[in-house]
Amino acid sequence: MELNAISIGFVVFTIFTLGGGIGVVTTRNLFQGTIWLMVSLFGVAGYFVLLSAPFLAAVQILVYIGAIAILITFAVMLTRSVTRIKTRYIRLVPSLLASLALFLILLLGVTMPIFGGVSPEHAPATVASTRDLGAALVDENGYVVPFLLASVLLTGAMIGAIFIARDDTA
């Protein structure tokens, strides 16, 4: 019974995710491609809600639709007249093979816990709150090192990007 309701949500969000994905690869227009990508990522946010991780869903929307979409659009507009590419797919076979290989690896990773994943029966019964997440992030036995490494990474990313993109005339 419970399964039924969640599966309806699952179907809806799958349509969003896969439909958006198809939109991305079929449109020739980079801006429309960006929008389709956001539709797809919105579907992923829906999955997070279904998985009782509303915080991650909000993050997904905030970061991807709020920031990445804008950033991609700005990047698209940096280049001249690439919004309507007229080239054909020249590397169809290699890209097909690469994406198939990636899909297989991910499929294996999800179905079998070979990469250190947690199988469904070992998942914790209680859903952790955002507060627990915050406490775990800065706990000395928790994730404080990755937390600070993330900060270093972000700083590095920003410095690098400014270094590359900065206008030398100024």
Partner: protein, 120 residues
């Protein structure tokens, strides 16, 4: 289950929210006049036909602002759970959060020094 219950409400809200503005638009579609002509539906500019592509090249400054925003956006995402856990947090965790903010402030300082924050 309770969590999903809340989100069912949000889901229904999200479905209905675009319908509210769509309703008047659809009603207007029933009543409004339809007399398009070539000039009327041409791009609105200054009276002269528009020249060239609309999708012109923009300057890199937009991208830099977008990038700095993205970095801060991700930082805020990390700080929200930190702030929510503030009251029960140990001193160690509190200092870790501070270090996190400090490192990011560094990035802002760098951007400032390199004049990346100027609108040119």
């Amino acid at each position: 289950m309770n969590v999903l219950n809340e989100w069912a409400f949000i889901g229904m809200f999200a479905v209905l929210a675009p319908i509210f503005p769509a309703l008047p638009i659809v009603i207007a579609w029933l009543f409004r006049p339809r007399k398009p002509n070539v000039l009327k539906s041409s791009t609105y500019e200054c009276g002269v036909e528009t020249i060239g592509d609309t999708w012109v090249q923009f300057r890199v400054q937009y991208y830099i602002y977008g990038l700095i925003f993205l970095v801060f956006d991700v930082e805020m995402v990390f700080l929200f759970p930190w702030a929510a856990a503030y009251n029960e947090m140990s001193l160690f965790g509190f200092v870790a959060g501070f270090l996190f903010i400090f490192l990011l402030t560094d990035a802002l300082f760098y951007a400032w020094q390199k004049n990346a924050l100027e609108w040119k």
